[in-house]
């Protein structure tokens, strides 16, 4: 596994701290590192709360893909190797190598297909590990990575029970099974051209595939048309794009009123978790399963680790500023560890170093 993404569930959940800890651990393990970001990070202070933010200290030899304007901002010396012709609000993306250690502000490609291109370029330089730093709560471009670390914490919500439930919900989607090869082959065969996009499709027991225009399910009329294609022999429904809560609810209500229980297939976990109504979506999907339905993915995105940051910025009325506040992270971490099949870590704790090493041993066996 070469490419690991670090995504956050909100601002201040500890993406950059996690990235910095991984950079340090990679250095200790003597591995060559590549780095990019799907947003803009590395400022000294948060541009909303004014609280200090961790910055990224990059060792000599690290290869980076960053926007041109970042070059002048950090203290590291970066030798430009290639210009990629990908433009961002902070200038063209360049690939470079750190020539003198220092702090680096990382802003990179901010969309999925650009990240794919940038990763190809970084891979060509053959680092042992490539990290993709997240931005805010953004996740979509992370489908281009090979494994994901989810940074969450009290900055998302400082209600520990709610944070617990939300984290379980998010992580659960990443653990859904991948569609059986045989069914996948049928769907693949039904596409007009091998390289064309997936479309919303219904597969029946006989292997017949019927398709709708488009890949996302966002309009009520589309749901009507889709329900019209579902026969008692329907085996699977593929929604390769995104889905709105209201459309999904309309679809499942329609299906549940019939005895038919086709498998619902989504392209990858990201397509669901990017929805602003994700937790409502999760409720109707859970109900679908309780009623005998099944869920699957076309492509998996392995969730490797959850990092839990007990910090949150609390607004203080008397000083009219934000101050650092904390929830009981140890208790929540223990509760999550018992329920999740991945590491749950507070990267600021002393034991984190050992766990990060275990992670690297797992992703990069000697």
């Amino acid at each position: 596994m070469r490419v690991i993404g670090i995504a956050g569930t909100a601002k201040n959940t500890g993406k950059t701290t996690t990235t910095a800890a991984l950079i340090e651990q990679t250095g200790r393990a003597g591995k060559a590192l590549g780095l990019t970001s799907i947003g803009y990070d590395g400022e000294e202070t948060d541009n909303v709360t004014g609280l200090p933010k961790p910055r990224l200290l990059l060792p000599v030899g690290t290869v980076v893909a960053i926007a041109e304007k970042c070059l002048a901002t950090g203290s590291a010396k970066i030798q430009v190797l290639k210009r990629l012709g990908i433009s961002t609000p902070l200038g063209e993306i360049i690939v470079g190598r750190v020539a003198a250690e220092g702090l680096v502000v990382i802003a990179g490609p901010n969309k999925e297909h650009q990240l794919a291109e940038v990763l190809e370029q970084l891979k060509a330089l053959r680092p042992d590990l490539i990290l993709v730093d997240g931005a805010l709560n953004r996740l979509a471009p992370m489908v281009e990575t090979e494994g994901l670390i989810l940074a969450t914490g009290a900055a998302r919500t400082h209600d520990p029970d709610r944070l617990f439930r939300e984290t379980l919900d998010l992580c659960e989607v990443f653990q859904w099974p991948v569609l059986k090869t045989q069914l996948m082959a049928r769907l693949l065969a039904a596409r007009k051209q091998p390289d064309s996009d997936w479309a919303i499709s219904v597969l029946d027991e006989a292997g017949k595939v019927q398709m709708l225009e488009g890949k996302s399910l966002l309009a009520g009329q589309q749901v009507e048309s889709l329900l019209g294609l579902v026969s008692p022999r329907a085996k699977a429904i593929l929604i390769p794009g995104i889905v709105s809560y209201s459309c999904l609810k309309q679809l499942l209500d329609g299906l549940l009123s019939q005895p038919v229980r086709p498998g619902l297939v989504f392209a990858d976990p990201i397509k669901l978790v990017v929805s602003q109504d994700f937790f409502d979506i999760k409720i109707v999907l859970d109900r679908w399963r309780e009623e005998g339905g099944s869920l699957a993915l076309l492509n998996s995105l392995p969730l490797l680790m959850v990092t839990l940051n007990p910090f949150y910025p609390a607004y203080c009325d008397s000083t009219r500023s934000y101050t650092a506040a904390f929830i009981d992270g140890d208790m929540l971490r223990e509760k999550l560890s018992r329920r999740l099949r991945v590491w749950v870590v507070d990267v600021k704790k002393p034991e984190a170093q050992k766990i990060l090493q275990e992670l690297l041993d797992f992703t990069h066996p000697a």
């Binding site: 909100a10 601002k11 799907i38 947003g39 803009y40 990070d41 400022e43 541009n47 909303v48 926007a67 304007k69 961002t88 609000p89 902070l90 802003a107 901010n110 969309k111 999925e112 297909h113 931005a135 805010l136 709560n137 953004r138 996740l139 979509a140 471009p141 489908v143 996009d197 488009g214 890949k215 996302s216 966002l218 309009a219 794009g241 995104i242 709105s244 990201i270 397509k271 990017v274 929805s275 602003q276």
Partner: protein, 618 residues
């Protein structure tokens, strides 16, 4: 890669309220032949994405004001669009008051448009080409504010009286000189020697020898303070040389600042006056920081203020000196440092209107590249403490240098602040202006725009600040066709320690000046009258912004004074004529100053004593 083909653009206010920015863009895009789809406010992200898919648009423009949790909301929208596969073919930009490129990058947009965005920038984004700003709108050129005036006297009688008085001055001064004039002559030789050496025409040894001789002669005509500085290295109190590292970081500061600054314009219409700010913090470093700040917020010119002790001391020090109190020390090195830090479009005025170094100040200003200077014999003698005879001799020499170096100069009338009635101050100003014309120089009249102390006593400005200030311009216009530069600064005695109030009154005085069609104004910072120390940089921005807003607000609209203005103007003209007749009767301009004709003790004016008895009769 330009694409001016017809584009389909979705405009979506991701906001509870409609956004005016999107409406402006809708109009601009349609005017440029593109098709737009405007969504009502408060649509859900999924609905916007569905619309973009249905209408097959190439661009989505989102507008949103920032607030709690909005960053996540916007990033979520971008994510959803990405996950829907939209971003391969559709570009998404965000606009709003709090948007900056860094934020747009963090949120994942293709571009971000903040306040002050030119609609053409967004058009370029939609058409997929690089935005090239129209630099002709931004670039600034120095303006000669004295250009286009004939200096013709419209009031014949006053013109005749002025010529008579100037004849008296020439007669009186014909056989006189002063240490100040002599030092300026020596300085001229020093500058010439330097030029000859730099041209490689003499050896370094010869140059140094010549310079040492000239320096010796210079010190013979200087005060003890200056002699001790050169012979024993004793530096006056609260003054010290800048270190090498301070100078290096100053140069770095200027280089770095210029690399990221842009020049703004205060003026809204061509008729708005040129705007000057004043600097003189004592520290060249701080001065330059203030100048750069002024330039980037629209100041057209900057005025160098020297310390008051500099005006009372015979001779200049040398080197890069910083001073812990008001006023920045004049040395050739300090002036060169400041000159090198100025933007090419910035007008630079070095004041020389008072004191014992007036001729040498104008000479240095001219030689080092100033654009303007400031000279007034009457003010220097009646308001600034220099002996009238000495000020007259030094003033004539200074005006000759101003003519030689083509430095237009304002003739300031700040003695009005001491209580001298405007008509007396104006009489002195008009004498100096006539003298300047006879010597081939370009004087600029500087009536004070203030809450005039004479009016405070008589109650003449109780109703408004407009009539009397307008009357001054109307009166001068009836007398002569000459450039005018009210100051200095405008709004004097109307400002308080309240920065909003100070900015407001400055803006209104600027609007009045513009309405009266003057050529230039000098403005104070919003804390200048009450700073009790170096002024705060932000307070410069206050008044520059206030003036910008005032110019924007009024445009070509005129301010209409009441009938009282015309009456005041008549009184001022009559007063000026009376004073000039008294001088003619006296038969000597200098004696008239001693005798209080241009401002008497009962007005609050006393003939100055600095330099008294140091006029040399040949």
């Amino acid at each position: 890669m330009g694409n001016s083909a017809k584009q389909r653009v979705l405009l979506a206010p991701l906001d509870p309220v409609h956004d005016i920015g999107l409406k402006i863009m809708k109009r601009h895009l349609e005017a440029n032949g593109h098709e737009t789809f405007m969504l009502p406010p408060d649509y859900k992200a999924e609905e916007i994405i569905q619309k973009a898919i249905d209408e097959k648009v190439g661009t989505i423009l989102i507008s949103r004001t920032l607030g709690y949790g909005v960053a996540e909301l916007l990033a979520g929208f971008v994510d959803l669009a990405d996950a829907a596969g939209l971003r391969k073919n559709v570009r998404i930009a965000i606009g709003g008051m709090a948007i900056r490129p860094e934020l747009a990058a963090e949120l994942g947009f293709d571009a971000g448009f903040g306040p002050g965005t030119n609609p053409d920038e967004v058009l370029a984004f939609v058409e997929g080409r690089e935005y090239v700003p129209d630099l002709s709108k931004e670039s600034k050129q120095k303006k000669d504010i004295s250009a286009g005036y004939s200096y013709r006297y419209k009031h014949e009688r006053i013109g005749q009286l002025l010529d008579k008085i100037v004849d008296f001055i020439f007669d009186w001064a014909a056989d006189k000189t002063s240490p100040g004039v002599i030092r300026a002559e020596i300085r001229e030789k020093m500058l010439r020697a330097e030029a000859v050496f730099q041209a490689g025409k003499v050896s370094e040894h010869e140059y140094k020898k010549a310079l040492a001789e000239l320096q010796q002669a210079y010190l013979e005509h200087s005060d003890e303070t200056v002699r001790k500085f050169f012979s024993e290295g004793i530096i006056p109190a609260k003054t010290r040389p800048l270190s090498g590292s301070e100078l290096a970081s100053l140069e770095e500061y200027v280089r770095e600042t210029e690399s990221r600054m842009s020049i703004k314009r205060v003026q809204h219409i061509g008729e708005n006056p040129t705007v000057f700010i004043q600097y003189g913090t004592g520290c060249p470093f701080m001065d330059i920081a203030h100048i750069k700040m002024g330039e980037s917020w629209g100041a057209d010119g900057v005025v160098h203020f020297d310390p008051s002790w500099g005006a009372r001391t015979e001779g200049f020090l040398s080197g890069y000196l910083t001073h812990e109190e008001d006023g920045s020390v004049i040395t050739p090195e300090n002036l060169r440092q400041i000159k090198d830090s100025l933007h090419s479009s910035t007008l630079w005025q070095v004041r020389a209107h008072r004191g014992l170094n007036t001729p040498e100040t104008v000479l240095l200003a001219g030689a080092i590249g100033a654009d303007l200077t400031k000279i007034n014999i009457a003010y220097g003698a009646m308001g600034a403490g220099t002996d009238p005879a000495r000020m007259c001799i030094d003033g004539i020499a200074a005006i000759k240098y101003a003519a030689k170096y083509n430095l237009p100069f304002d003739v300031v009338t700040n003695e009005e602040l001491a209580g001298v009635p405007a008509f007396k101050a104006f009489a002195g100003m008009l004498v100096v202006a006539r003298l300047a014309r006879r010597l081939g120089a370009k004087p600029i009249l500087q009536p004070l725009f203030c809450y005039s102390p004479e009016m405070m006593i008589t109650g003449g400005m109780e109703d408004n600040y407009v009539d009397f200030n307008a009357a001054k311009i109307m009166a001068l216009r009836k007398i002569i066709d000459a450039p005018m530069w009210p100051g200095a600064p405008i709004g004097f005695l109307t400002q308080t320690e309240d920065r909003v109030q100070s900015s407001m009154t400055t803006g209104l005085h600027a609007a009045l000046a513009s309405s009266l069609g003057v050529d230039a104004i000098s403005i104070a910072s919003s804390d200048e009258a009450y700073s009790g120390g170096p002024i705060v940089a932000a307070s410069r921005v206050d008044t520059l912004q206030a003036v910008t807003e005032a110019f924007r607000f009024f445009g070509h609209t005129k301010i209409q004074p009441t009938a009282k203005a015309e009456r005041h103007a008549g009184e001022i003209i009559a007063g000026i004529q009376k004073v000039l007749e008294q001088i003619v009767e006296k038969g000597c301009f200098v004696q008239a100053m001693y005798d209080g004709i241009l401002g008497a003790p009962e007005d609050g004016a006393y003939p100055g004593r600095v330099g008294r008895g140091r006029v040399i009769t040949l």
